[in-house]
Symmetry: C2
Subunit: 151 residues, 2 copies
């Protein structure tokens, strides 16, 4: 099925680029040799419950569903609190040590956060490694994690 694959591209595009209108999706997918029309994108957006958010700067951009965003952050906080042992950063990477068994879950949750500044996140049994796109993002990411633990 082509739809599932395309929709995951949509998620990726939202993370990595600033999508201002549906035709942006069409254009960028075309570059990946996925040819679809605006009609299809509109349906995908409805199905995925993406929203067009007016931005502070006076423009618009598509984003992930508000409720799911909140939910996954809540879950992440719970897991973090439950399993957290320690966190360290080096360059643009952050390592989070957790109690055995919790790595994969936390890694998945971090990924689902759809944080634009993250390059990748992987987790084994007791370790989660997040690679940020920039060093600045690394600090932001650590702050975010710290805040979740503290809030």
């Amino acid at each position: 099925m082509r739809k599932v694959e395309r929709q995951s591209h949509l998620r990726q595009l939202i993370n990595n680029t600033n999508i201002e209108r549906q035709d942006d999706f069409v254009r960028l997918l075309a570059q990946k040799h996925i040819e679809v029309t605006q009609a299809t994108i509109s349906r995908d957006i409805k199905e995925m419950q993406l929203v067009k958010v007016p931005t502070a700067g006076g423009g618009y951009h598509y984003s992930f569903p508000p409720k799911k965003q909140m939910d996954s952050e809540k879950k992440m906080r719970r897991t973090l609190r439950d399993a957290f042992i320690s966190m360290n950063a080096q360059d643009n990477m952050v390592v989070i040590n957790v109690h055995p068994g919790n790595g994969p879950a936390l890694a998945t949750l971090i990924s689902q956060t759809n944080d634009e500044s993250l390059f990748a996140t992987i987790g084994d049994d007791a370790t989660v490694l997040s690679i940020c796109k920039t060093k600045a993002a690394t600090h932001e990411f650590m702050n975010k994690m710290t805040n979740l633990l503290a809030d």
Copy 2:
């Protein structure tokens, strides 16, 4: 100035009714003897950063800005944790007792949550009273508070 007033009506309408498109705003404002056109609503929406959210049921409805929603929930959790003493319900009302001085802040935060099921919330120095629209909503509201405390 007329705009500020109108925009607060918009907030109210989002809370109390299911707004599917901008013309719904126009129509409902007209009933309140506020005559505006769709163009103005579009500008308000941009300014207030409201979003049109695809719903699970296959429709659409306008809602509050996702980020502000998250932020105010976080603040609420912090304040709750800080100040919470006890909570009790009777009929469709919920009373939250807090440490002296925290009532007004918590009441404001609860109001800002824009919970559709709330009729009103007021807070004095150490007490917050939330009146829900229905008895069912009362339970939901208590659950929500409990979860914020527990999460």
